[in-house]
Amino acid sequence: MKMKVLVLVLLVSVLTSGYGFASAEDTLPFAVKTLIKQKNAAAVEGEALKYSQAGNPFLAHLAYGEAFLIKGELDQADTSFKKALELNPIGMEGKIGLARVLAARGQAPQAMQLLQEALRTSPHPERLYYELGLIRESTGDIKGATQAFEQGLERYFSKK
């Protein structure tokens, strides 16, 4: 029985990796996030190209989405994040990207709703609370942003 389970797990893992599925844990490394924060679109695009060449379409779409977002090319950003979400429907990164596109389009309520939905299932809500806080802050809801950041920190520290 144990052997059958092991074989099944191995099979699923081989198949999913072969088709470029990403896990719920995948996220852009901090170095790339720093480039995003610095709004360095060209460098982020360069990273996206590297991911693409390395056979990691999920991270490539995420990085392209971020680069488009920096450049204000919101439709292309939306497409890239949707592709990332298709590759990893259970992960939060695609949803965060889409929420940021919505916020950039001035659709903050929809962006927040998307993040709230993701919060129901995410094992790592800190990032989602952080993004939620940023969007609330951008709409002028400073106290609401504080609450979101506090919830994110509370969730992180309660796990430790």
Binding site: E126, Y130, G133, Y156
Partner: protein
Amino acid sequence: MKRALLLCGVLALVFFTSEGASALRDLQEGMEVPTFSVTDIAGKSFSYHELAGKKGSLLIFWQTTSKNSGKALQQIQESHVAWQEKGLQIVAINVEEQNISADDLKAIKAVADKLSFPVYVDRGLVVFDKLGVIALPTMILLDDKMVIHKQMSGLPLVGSQLFWEEVGYFLGEKKVAVKELYKPARAAFLSYQMGLKFEKQKNPDKAVAVYEKAAAADPAFINPVIRLVDLYLRSQRVDLVKALLAKTDKGLDDNPALLLCLAKLAYHEGDMAKAKKMIAESLAKEETPDAYIYSGFISVAAGLYPEAETAFNHAIELSHGSPEVLRMIGRFFSGKGDYAKANVYYKQALEEIFRTGGR
């Protein structure tokens, strides 16, 4: 995680003696330090093994932005020739940042150029975390077997003099007077350890019960007092803090941690003048993130916002950007209704968590 352990060490001030605080989170005098390696400014490697077997070694962990680090390096510089002649190896390990930038290296080199003993850089703060350094500067005197002979954190006025004297005795200088090191009563120490476990399990009521036992078993043992003060204040029991501190051993009057406890009490009682005085005395003996945080709280209460910001920045620097420290400051502003300011610190805390791999 590393940051959590760091703050735990900073706040708990584990193994406090009546002379000062333990410099390291998990290591005590008599214990061997784990192997480590660092690189010099140019990137050349230097390892633990190059010190093992030598008569003795003095490690100093420092940072360019810590003013007491500069003073400590200067004091070592003044004595190092005599010490080196007696067989002491001096190794200064810079713990500037997790990721060292070109500007950091420039600043480190500027300090190193004025010193005639080697300066290394702990890239990634690996050794800093491995040895559990909890405050800067930290000095560790090791024997030939790399066993800790003496350690010191911060640069306490009295403690540092004793530490330098101890280096001299270690190298064979004649001992003028021997001062017995304080060791807590066993029962008190065991209860204290149990309290730390309960706190880790997020069971503050049980922690309080065993800390109270520890404090009663040895009134000269400061550690349980420190933890009790924080736990009582968390539940707004200023009366209990007052009663506890009134019972503390008189021999601890100069202890920086006790001075900090007294400052916290004065702050919560609204006696800002006394709180300010106690904090200044505590910081003069030892710089800790906790003391700087309270110094910031007191400055905010007095409307001195630039001073508060400076104090908070010191706390953040000393703790290497610990999310716990940033969260404490954010909570303070949130509690005051200054949500914009709270968000500044909360965002930094979350970003630090993401940066160090916590998503």
